[in-house]
Symmetry: C2
Subunit: 194 residues, 2 copies
């Protein structure tokens, strides 16, 4: 289905970096030649404002790597607290050895308009990215640079370019992974004057 969920609102591209700026753990989704997959990645960051760029590390051992290499596209999906168990699951298990890992871990996807890259339901932000080919980075460091072509956010928690975690249901707080199944959720806001 190429329709967006009701609460999924477009984010202007010049504000897209704000979805990642506070350092959430992401789910990397991709599709190629009829196959799609999702993996977890704690290693991503914004790299530019406009046009927005991001970096993400995608290990050669992952099935996602083959799909990104094949298609030249990926999406960064920002999971919220209710997806903690699923995020750990798709970060631990590989589609190489567990072909039905998405079903097993309860990951459901939807398709954005005019794209084959699946987006993950239950996330609070989504960045659709086209790979800017940098073969040396990709080969030496597993480091990918993507240009963000579209971005969306859950309007219950991100509005007018700002996360509103303190006003939204706690279940919509983003996840920040450390190791060994240990996450932290994002906490309270602090506004500081210049």
């Amino acid at each position: 289905m190429n329709t967006l969920p009701d609460f999924c609102s477009p984010v202007p591209l010049d504000k897209a970096y704000r979805l990642l700026n506070h350092g959430p753990t992401v789910l990397v989704s991709s599709a190629h030649a009829g196959e799609h997959n999702v993996m977890a990645a704690a290693w991503s960051m914004p790299l530019d404002f406009q046009p927005p760029k991001v970096t993400v590390a995608i290990d050669k051992a992952t099935r996602t790597r083959a799909l990104v290499d094949g298609s030249g596209w990926f999406a960064l999906n920002i999971p919220a607290r209710t997806l903690a168990q699923a995020t750990l699951g798709v970060g631990t298990d590989s589609a190489r050895t567990m072909p039905d890992k998405l079903q097993r871990h309860g990951i459901h996807t939807f398709a954005p308009p005019d794209s084959d890259v699946p987006l993950v339901q239950g996330c609070v932000g989504w960045l659709l990215c086209k790979v800017l080919p940098e073969p040396h980075n990709q080969q030496t460091y597993d480091l990918f640079i993507g240009e963000v072509t579209h971005a969306w956010a859950d309007s219950r928690v991100f509005n007018n370019g700002h996360w509103e975690f303190d006003k939204a249901p706690d279940d919509l707080r983003t996840l920040h992974y450390v190791a060994g199944g240990q996450f932290f959720v994002i906490g309270e806001g602090m506004k500081v004057g210049e």
Copy 2:
């Protein structure tokens, strides 16, 4: 002074990535030819486990960029909540136009053993990094890759490779910047089983 504060404990290099894994905003410190500086950066991430590597974006317009280009070294300092105002200050003002910006914003530094790179007092984690020269990344994307040679953490909040935000004083929670003076502090922990 080349002595570490009492609570500043070495972190084994194979656990150093965990200091950054949850996506905190960092302070980038550097020194060259008798000058030192500190700037804020929300755009950094781990890039490898062992030897640990990191990426960080350092804009050409910053004074820090000249010091990193000159010395080949930088440190990523992880500020805690009490440094929010100072972090915004050194991220907003440039030493190019405000040479005393560190004093104005109350940033105090100390030196680690056998290094000229200043570390920022009041932070809860520190990663000393040697630039792995990648001229194309640096020139095209302002993207630096560093190998972590030493890491330390505040033992009141990071122990045995784990952040203990829920046990430590709230003032030691890390900062996660969005935009316009808006930070979030890291929130509560969630342990998820595989």
